[in-house]
Symmetry: C2
Subunit: 164 residues, 2 copies
DNA sequence: GAATATATGATACGATGTCTCAAAAGCGTT
DNA sequence: AACGCTTTTGAGACATCGTATCATATATTC
């Protein structure tokens, strides 16, 4: 237990540093607010949780009540453009953010518990070739979101099925 | 010309009827407003254009200045749930609507002219099986958006390249 | 530590969509 | 075609999410 907690703390520390380096690389200054945001994002990265920009702001406001909304949104925007964060769109038009490795990947979202898991599998090149041929588009990118039910939710549905 | 115009008009008429039947099937009444909306959507379906709910409202307001925003949004919502409309999400979090056949398909959007084209190709079952195995999710659905540049935009870029 | 450029935060603004509820309109019945 | 019941509408308030503005505060450079 000790070791694992220690490792988490260390990995968070590294993540904080990585985020601050991203800001630095963009020529942005190291401010108290950005360090605060980096801290929180590192914790979220460690737990793999996803969040909305609003969520993040509210959480940080508990630490610093005067932290401005625009400051948080601006930071999220920078990190999204840098590829540190992923935006996950939902069917209702809303979207959440998630820290990610930066490598190309997709997401599976559990329709029951909303848990998001990364998937490394990607579209086969043949499919892209077919689409390109059919439409005469030069395909430059894609966005794939998968929906389903995770193992835990499938299990709980069996033990506690809906009565209707 | 005559014949083609006539055919377009006829196909729009059919589409109008189909939309009104969808309302009817939901147990919703046939109102002047809904008929107005059906007319406009049929025209949009014929031209294959995509639109925002706001767009649609403004266009219809020119015909009936008192038409309520909520009325249009409600109708769009119904038709979306019925599968007559598709919601196409964009990277910036916005989304547009598009009439579609109802059969499963995806979209390719031109990153330059924003034109949207339907694609009938879909994910190979092997990919879904792989993802299911890797994540232990029961995959129930997916959303795939493709981005690229259409033939026309590629051609115009060659004759008029960006100077930077 | 002074100069200077950037970042912040309060607030206004804008876009998009939902909710409310009195009034209007549809529809089945008579 | 008038009645009565139910749904629908429309106007605007409200909610949410994000962006723009700009005086002030803060980093960074010298």
């Amino acid at each position: 237990m000790r070791t694992s907690e220690h490792n988490v703390a260390r990995s968070e520390g590294k993540t904080v540093e990585r985020i601050l380096q991203l800001f630095d690389a963009m020529g942005l200054r190291s401010t108290r607010q950005r360090r605060l945001i980096a801290d929180r994002l590192a914790a979220l990265a460690a737990s793999g949780a996803d969040f909305t920009a609003q969520d993040l702001w509210h959480e940080l406001q508990e630490i610093d009540p005067h932290l401005g909304r625009a400051t948080v949104y601006r930071a999220v925007d920078v990190l999204l453009n840098e590829g540190f964060l992923d935006r996950i769109p939902f069917a209702d038009g809303s979207h959440r953010y998630r820290t990610c490795g930066g490598a190309h990947h997709h997401h599976v979202t559990c329709v029951q518990c909303q848990r998001v898991v990364e998937v490394n599998a990607c579209l086969p090149p043949e499919l892209l070739a077919t689409i390109s041929a059919k439409t005469d588009f030069a395909i430059e990118g894609h966005s794939l979101e998968l929906f389903g039910r995770c193992a835990a939710c499938r299990a709980s549905a069996i033990t506690a099925p809906t009565t209707m």
